[in-house]
Symmetry: C3
Amino acid sequence: MTALQRSSGAAVNRDQVAAFYDAYFDTLDEGRLEEWPNFFAADCRYRIISRENYEAGQGLCIMQADSKGMLTDRVRAILKTQVYAPRYCRRFYSGLRIAAAGEREVQVKQNVLLIQTLLDKPSEILACGAGHDRLLLSEAGELQFADRTLVLDTEMISNSIIYPA
Amino acid sequence: MTALQRSSGAAVNRDQVAAFYDAYFDTLDEGRLEEWPNFFAADCRYRIISRENYEAGQGLCIMQADSKGMLTDRVRAILKTQVYAPRYCRRFYSGLRIAAAGEREVQVKQNVLLIQTLLDKPSEILACGAGHDRLLLSEAGELQFADRTLVLDTEMISNSIIYPA
Amino acid sequence: MTALQRSSGAAVNRDQVAAFYDAYFDTLDEGRLEEWPNFFAADCRYRIISRENYEAGQGLCIMQADSKGMLTDRVRAILKTQVYAPRYCRRFYSGLRIAAAGEREVQVKQNVLLIQTLLDKPSEILACGAGHDRLLLSEAGELQFADRTLVLDTEMISNSIIYPA
């Protein structure tokens, strides 16, 4: 895993990127949705898309937001809606791959397994897929998503994807 | 991930903590239960608890031991009992989060996915949840659990949790 | 995790081994089967075997190849055959354990969870198990499998293991 040299001489290394994803997934796993937009740059894109559409170059998404403001709106909508059966969603990731794309930019891939638990039901697989992401390193040395595109292997999920991942 | 400075100048880093968990889960995955108590300090607590009880601050646990001696007793009981259908349990973890809590103490969180396989049956999810742990660094430089609390997302499991995790 | 000193003074460290497995699984997850043999030394062994047979010391395997040439043949056979329903297979791993076995050789264990998705079906567990591998470090500093033995916890899978893992 190549360490990406910053102009300051410091590096974005694998541990830093791993720590970013660990914090991101932990925030979502604990249901602290109101903190979710903080992981994104103001100018960003967030998408959940099926692998078939993604590989065919079709833009039809299961979920999409084109700015940090839209993420915040999305969180408000989720928190207001009470029609879902109560559930937990927990995220497992594997295979963090990091590639430099510029001095202050990294491209990151990782496999994601989403496990859903309805109260009083056994835990089950909600979906699996891979994140194809672009991260920016801010002047302050913080990583943020410029683009998070979660590509899911199945299409049989669109109705039950409630929470981001 | 902040490296925790020890008085000697050495550090408890992410790799050391990961190696501790890798050895812990490997020991359990291979069924070497008699070695399980060795990962704990003499004065320790081990709990498996549902997320609902944990977040409500209720103490009712699926499994609990309040000392290393009780862990050893537990192992003896499991090894003596022959009423279960033979099965394997394999543990996957993700999102190791490390926070310092003192010079010789670290707090660690990690997601855990338990996969159970009854012989001649397909593998299936037994449970998923998160470990909320407190580790001590001994004088000899070894990590040990002072507290391992495994919080499971579901309550529909208490009867089939046989092996520790 | 002990860093393994190479004669040149460099080290095979945990990050390098993790990067090797990340690239290996990513290649398979993306279906680039024709690149699969490149991860193996010319003189190699690849096996998928049930845990029961493995622990009993029986050689009967679900899949076996005894050279890189046989892996290439296997890939050709898979790519030619069109009798399977289209599906994705995605690999999650956990608990990378590394042990030195010589100056240019490392032994690596890791848990593996295989998730299969038939198009228009929900994702499901195909199998879980552990890799018991031996890797060689080439003169050029590249890691390659001398032996990859994937031990699966269940035997109820032999007919549906189509793709390597």
